[in-house]
Every structure is written in structure tokens, then in C-alpha cells.
């Protein structure tokens, strides 16, 4: 128990030195740490938002929305496919969407098979080997075709939508110029956004809360304004609210959508008022040119998120693939819109379901208070240990200090985040880590009382206590892991420190102390132990 081969001694010392090296940058200022020679570790522990200040937002997409959007686009596709079916357009009536199903009646039953054939081609196979498709096509009651979205199909579209949403959010936040945002998906339909140093998240939320779906649609000039006012929609058209109030009838089909947009900037209109310029890619530009050519003299509507921003007249064909959006913008709101348009539309609307914002003062206060508490805790525990166990208490304190540094080192090199509860975990570990030493020392005391010699007491003390220490700590690790898996946010940060602390404390309190004790016994050969 007290024999240490040379390689073991060196690996223990090596581990400690390595740990201390990794912990060291945390005691320097950020500048000093950055200017360290490159062969030295210079990673500091990353602080959680509760310590450095910043905003944490959890966004959630409504899965019903994804389902609905998908069904709507399916309806569009079905309409156009049937119109362009092989062997001439297929007539249908009573097309409707409800409960995740799209149903329609084929008027000419002789074309039923052709219709089913056509619509089957619309469906896509899902990834994977199941052979399932995203939409099932069935015939009921002789002439009614029902298209049902499969659960797998919906899950896949949600997955796609979320992946795309993460990208869009990343672009939008980068545009804000904030540093090191963390954007991660959580679960099936959530995204967690963490932006350190951000005090007022309202600008961020304003950017994240908008879908920014831009469409250009022709205004339905044949619609009777009185009918529109009463909400009666002409066929093939839809009624959309105008930004300045009122409503307008526009063609259902968009001539072009924002997907083809490649750039958008703040600019000025002819009167010098802020406006937003946009530019389409080449296909988009061609389509826009064609549409404006065919409709000179007619108004078209610029629709953002289902609201008509403006409905200018097409005075001449717009051939260059670019233009400006006029409206009552300030420079700031024009810039916001430009960012939104540049970053593309969110495939799904996101709602903030959880928000935590911490001011930088509070974070700094917490760090200071935490550091003081940790220092006082080390001091108090050290005094207790030294008063109780004398020389063995000093050894325990050495182990304790190494332990704290090792925890900091592991957290730095492992890229773990220190949170406020993590600081509490550190302080708790300070109090609990000496338990192993208490166990060992009390065992040694007992063995001494039984009249064993110095070496034998220490041997038995370490041996018997080690078994107990392993039992107790493996249980603690289990609890910490459960905490890590099921805990959210603050609990996770606490569990991380606790787990690291348990592992390092077994090393320092048992192995390191045993090494020190063995060296001392070999050198001093004490006749009696004062413990």
C-alpha cells in the first residue's frame, strides 16, 4: 500500500503538473493569457451566461404550423400538377385541407387512375430503407382522392425546417455583430440561442420573431373594392391586409418569392427617405423582368409575412433584377428589414418559450462573491483539518488545494462551462473532498488505538478506507450523471463540476496523500503518529 514504484511517482507528479498548467491561465487576465507562449496552455474556463451576462433564449417552432404550411404548398402543387397532367388537365372539385389531409373529388371518373398516377409522382420517398413516402395517396368513395401526410413525412419536414431555421438565425445574429453566439437545436422542434454580453435582447428577439417571407404578387384589379371590404374573396385571389390599414385583393400565385433574393441593403428613395433595396439572382431577375413586362401599368404588391407593405404601379419593365421597397421606414427599421431579407425567410415561425437575461453587473458580483466564498471555504476547511489531524491534516489541505486547481484545469482543457451553480458545486466539493482524508485518518486513529504500529496503522487505514471511499464515490458519480442527463441549464453546470470534483478528489485525497505519507514515513521513520 505504501510502496510506490518510480514510474508511479512520476506519473502522479506529471498529472499534477499538467493539471496546474491547465489551471494557470484562469488566474491571469484575458490579455495576459493570450500573450502566453504558444507551448503553454492558454484556455480559460468559459463562463456561463449567468456569470458573464447575456441572453439565453429558447425558441420553439409550432409543429402544427409546419404541418399546415406543408399542406398548403401541397395543395398548390396538386392544383398545378392536375392542370398540367399528361393527356390534358384533369377536372376536380371540392378541394379542401383539414386535419392533416388534403381531399378532392375528381369530376371525370374515367381520369381517376390518371389523377392518382399524377399525384403519386408528387410524393417523395423518405430517407431510410422503409420505402415509406412523405404523403400517402388513397381513393375513397369511388371518386374522392385523399392525400395524407405520414407522421414520418411530417417529422422529416420539421427536421428540415429546423435545420434551415438554425442557419437563418445564425445569419441574422451574425448581422447584428454580436460575439460568439451559441445556436443549437434541442429536441425535435426547439432551438436554444445564447448570446453572451447582450444586455437588451429586444433587438435580437425582434429579428428572431419575424419569418421575413417576402413575395411579389399581382394586385387583382378586377376585384370589386366593396366585395373586398366585406371580406369576399374573388376566385384565384386572396385578401391581404395593407400595412397602412385596410385590405387589398391580390392574386394567390406569387410572381416571385424572396427565395431568389441575393442581396438587400438600406438605400434611399427619390425623396431621400430610407428605403430597402433588393437584388434577385439571374433566374429570379428573368422572372421578375418577364412579369413586369407583361403587366406594365398594373399595380403589384410587395408582401412581407402576409402583409402588403406597398403596392406600387409597374411604370416600366424592371429588367435589371433589382429594385427598392419604399415605405415609412426609419434608417433603423430599414436596416432591420434588409437584414431579414438578406438572411432569408424562416421556414417556420418561432416563438420564445424561455428567456433568461443576466446583466453584466450581476454576473461580476456573482463571480466575486463566489470566489470569496470559495476562498473562505478552503480556509475554514483547512483550519478544521489541520486542528484535527495535525501533519495528516496539512497533507489533506495540500491535496485539497491541488484538487481545486485540478478541477479548474480539467474544466479549462475540457471546454466545460462554469455556471453559478457550478461555483456552488466547487464550494461543496471543497467541503466534501476532504471526506476521503477524514475516513483514512479516522481509520488510522482507530488502528493506533488498537495498538498497531505506525506502518501497520497507516497501511490498514488506507486499505480499509479506500474500499469505503470507492463505494461512496461511485454512488455519488451515479447521482451526478443522472443530474447531468436529466437536469437542464443550471443543474447541468452543477453536475459537471460535481462529477469532475469527485474524480479528481479521489486522486488527490487518496493517491496523492498516500504518496506524501509514504515518502514521509520512509524518510522520518516516526516512532509514533500524532493524529
Amino acid at each position: 500500500m505504501l510502496d510506490f514504484p518510480q514510474w508511479k511517482v512520476w506519473s502522479i507528479i506529471g498529472t499534477i503538473v499538467l493539471g496546474l498548467l491547465f489551471a494557470m491561465p484562469n488566474f491571469l487576465t484575458e490579455r495576459q493569457a493570450a500573450s502566453l507562449p504558444s507551448f503553454l496552455p492558454n484556455h480559460q474556463i468559459s463562463l456561463g451566461l449567468d456569470l458573464r451576462g447575456g441572453s439565453h433564449l429558447m425558441l420553439e417552432a409550432s409543429t402544427d404550423d409546419v404541418r399546415k404550411t406543408k399542406l398548403e404548398s401541397l395543395e398548390e402543387t396538386v392544383r398545378s400538377e392536375l392542370r398540367q397532367a399528361d393527356g390534358g388537365a384533369i377536372a376536380y372539385t371540392d378541394i379542401s385541407t383539414a386535419g392533416g389531409k388534403l381531399s378532392l373529388i375528381i369530376t371525370d371518373t374515367t381520369r381517376l387512375d390518371a389523377a392518382v398516377e399524377t399525384l403519386r409522382k408528387v410524393t417523395r420517398p423518405l430517407s431510410g430503407l422503409s420505402g415509406a413516402r412523405d404523403v400517402e395517396v388513397n381513393v375513397v368513395d369511388g371518386n374522392r382522392i385523399v392525400l395524407t401526410e405520414t407522421d414520418e413525412g411530417v417529422a422529416q419536414s420539421i427536421d428540415n425546417a429546423m435545420a434551415q431555421a438554425v442557419e437563418v438565425i445564425r445569419k441574422r445574429i451574425d448581422e447584428l455583430g454580436t460575439r460568439e453566439p451559441t445556436i443549437v437545436r434541442q429536441g425535435a422542434n426547439r432551438i436554444v440561442v445564447q448570446v453572451p454580453g447582450l444586455q437588451d435582447p429586444s433587438a435580437l428577439k425582434a429579428l428572431l420573431g419575424k419569418t421575413a417571407k417576402l413575395e411579389f404578387k399581382l394586385v387583382d384589379v378586377t376585384a370589386d373594392p366593396a366585395e373586398v371590404a366585406q371580406g369576399r374573396t374573388p376566385p384565384g385571389s386572396q385578401i391581404l391586409p395593407l400595412l397602412e390599414g385596410g385590405a387589398i385583393a391580390v392574386k394567390r400565385r406569387a410572381i416571385i418569392s424572396g427565395d431568389q433574393l441575393i442581396d438587400s441593403q438600406v438605400s434611399q428613395d427619390q425623396n431621400g427617405a430610407p428605403a430597402v433595396s433588393f437584388r434577385f439572382d439571374s433566374t429570379g431577375g428573368r422572372r421578375f423582368a418577364q412579369a413586369t413586362q407583361e403587366n406594365v401599368g398594373k399595380p403589384f404588391a410587395i408582401v412581407l409575412d402576409g402583409k402588403v407593405i406597398s403596392a406600387p404601379n409597374i411604370n416600366e419593365p424592371i429588367l435589371g433584377g433589382s429594385g427598392i421597397i419604399q415605405g415609412s421606414y426609419t434608417v433603423q427599421s430599414a436596416n432591420e428589414l434588409a437584414i431579414l431579407l438578406r438572411s432569408g425567410k424562416l421556414p417556420v415561425e418561432l416563438k420564445v418559450v424561455e428567456e433568461r437575461t443576466v446583466g453584466p453587473d450581476l454576473g461580476a458580483d456573482s463571480i466575486r462573491a463566489g470566489a470569496i466564498a470559495a476562498a473562505v471555504a478552503v480556509l475554514a476547511v483547512s483550519l478544521l483539518m489541520i486542528a484535527s489531524y495535525g501533519r495528516f491534516g496539512v497533507y489533506a489541505v495540500i491535496a485539497l488545494v491541488i484538487n481545486v486547481l485540478l478541477i479548474l484545469g480539467v474544466m479549462s482543457v475540457g471546454g466545460f462551462t462554469l455556471t453559478l451553480p457550478g461555483i456552488a458545486g466547487l464550494v461543496l466539493t471543497i467541503g466534501a473532498a476532504v471526506d476521503a482524508n477524514v475516513l483514512i485518518n479516522e481509520r488510522i486513529r482507530e488502528e493506533q488505538r488498537k495498538g498497531r504500529g505506525v506502518i501497520a496503522s497507516v497501511e490498514v487505514g488506507f486499505r480499509d478506507a479506500t474500499r469505503t471511499i470507492w463505494d461512496a464515490n461511485s454512488l455519488n458519480i451515479i447521482v451526478a450523471i443522472i443530474m447531468f442527463i436529466f437536469g437542464s441549464g443550471p443543474i447541468k453546470g452543477f453536475a459537471v463540476v460535481l462529477s469532475i470534483g469527485i474524480a479528481t478528489s479521489v486522486f488527490t485525497a487518496v493517491t496523492v496523500v498516500r504518496l506524501i505519507v509514504a515518502r514521509w514515513l520512509a524518510r522520518a521513520r516516526p516512532a509514533a503518529l500524532s493524529i
Partner: protein
Amino acid sequence: MPLKLVPDNTNIGFVRVRFIAFALTVLLTLGSIGLLATKGLNLGVDFVGGLTMEVEFAQPPALDKLRVKVDSLGVGTSALQEFGSPRNILIRLPLPEGDQAAVQKVVAKVQSGLKADYGAVKFRRTESVSGKVSGELIEKGILAVVLSMAAVAVFTWFRFEWFFGVSTVVALVHDVIVTLGFFALTQLEFDLNVVAAILTIIGYSLNDKVVIDDRIRENLRKYRTMDIGPIIDLSVNETLPRTVMTSVTVLAALMAMLLLGPDVIFGFTAAMVLGIIVGTYSSIFVSAALLISLGVKSRAAPVVEQNAERVVRRKA
């Protein structure tokens, strides 16, 4: 002369007083359940949803005046609470109906309202949690506590014997319920952090019990002819210095945290302090003595035979 919190060779009859301890335990548990049923927990926004803002004022504001002010903003009924110092006030508001824009409006209203009346105020933190998320957080919290208890039971069962598992879990349930009762009594805010504290209490209290159980098992092997009562007493007494010393060091560290540490985690630290005290009590007086009531016998129950007997009984 080294400091000894517990004198050498104590011989306290813990087993003899076990019925008093059991009665006290039952009383504490029932009292806590009663408090939970009548007063309930002061659940934070993590668990009920809502909006919290911590505001720092230049001068300590009069709470009743501040309440009238906030309530006049038309953002729902507020609950105010001093937080750490009289200048820091925690404002709790119900989550408004509607989407995030509604939350943003409430935050803006409170901010401008307070700035108008109090001048320089600092908004130190804002938290809003929707009802859906808070429901999930409750579920996850309960799941974590229940799972760690189950893991403990299984581990102690395999590592020791089933009766150690039972006595440990009974004592742990007691520790958790009494801690919850403390939160019902003091009406300290019960948030996610406190759940972490409870999990830690489980882990720590377990530590104590494992150390004692370890010693009981060792002594059961060593003194085959001794009765279970004296063995338990001997084991608890032998480990008493360690139990007390460790509790004291942990409490010393936690007290530093409680008195000097950040205010945000006051409840969290308070829960742990109480949990350590309760856990130490239940380790010394309850869990070990419970083994007798579970019918553990010394001579009839060396480890191997106990196992064999269990297998036979199961088959029958």
C-alpha cells in the same frame, strides 16, 4: 493535542433510542407533508411559468408604494420580494397571454414605468418561462430525483444486501421530504437550482449511509456471534468521528457560501445546509437502526447464507 469533535471510543446506545428516533422521523415527515399540503411550495417561474425581474434601485424603495406602481402598469398582479439587499427587489409577474411580443411589452412597460418614478434603476436580470416549458422542467426534475433514488436502491442492493437498500432509501425519502417541508415552511423560492440541491443531498446523505453500512457489513463478518443490535451500535460509534467531522467540514464550506456567496443561489445553498443536517441525523439515528426493524440477524445472516436463503425463498 489534536481537535476531536467526537471523543475516542464512544459507546452511545443508538439502537436503544431508535423508537424515539423513529417517532421523531415520522413526526418530521408528517409535519413536512402537512406543510406541503397546506402552505405548499413557493414555486419559481421555472416551475409555474411567468416573468421575474431583478431590479436594483439607488435607494431602498418602499415595497407597498412600488407594488402600487407596478400594479398600476396593467401588467397583472405582482409579487415583490427583497433580494439580498433592500435595494434589490425581485418582481414576479404572471406571463401575459399571447406570444413573446406580449412579454416584451410587459418588460418594456415595467422598465419605463420604474425609470419614470425612480430614476436610475438597473435591471439585473430578466427571466420568462412559458407554461409549457415549466411543465417539462417539473417533469424532468421529478424524474431526476426518482431515478437517482432508484439507482441508489439498486446499487446498494447489489453492493450490499436488499435490506441496506431499503433502509437507505427510506432514510433518503425522509431527507428529501423534510427538505421540501423546510421550503414550504420558509416559503423560500423553489426553483431549478433547489432540485439540484436535493439531488446533491441525496448523494451526500448516501455517502454517510454507505460508510456506516460498509462498517456494519465488516463487523457482521468480524463478530459472527454478536447480536445485530450491538453490531449496529458499534459500527455507528466507530464511524461517528468521521460522520461528524465530514458534516462539519461540508457545513463550514456551505456556510461560507450561504453568508458570502451570490444571492441568486441562496435558496440552493440553504437547501443543502438543511439537507446535510437532516441527512446526518438520519444516517446516525434512522437508517442503521432500521436494519433491526427489517429483521436483519447477525448469526443467521452472514452474507452468503442470506443470499442463498433469498434464492430459495424466491423459488418456493
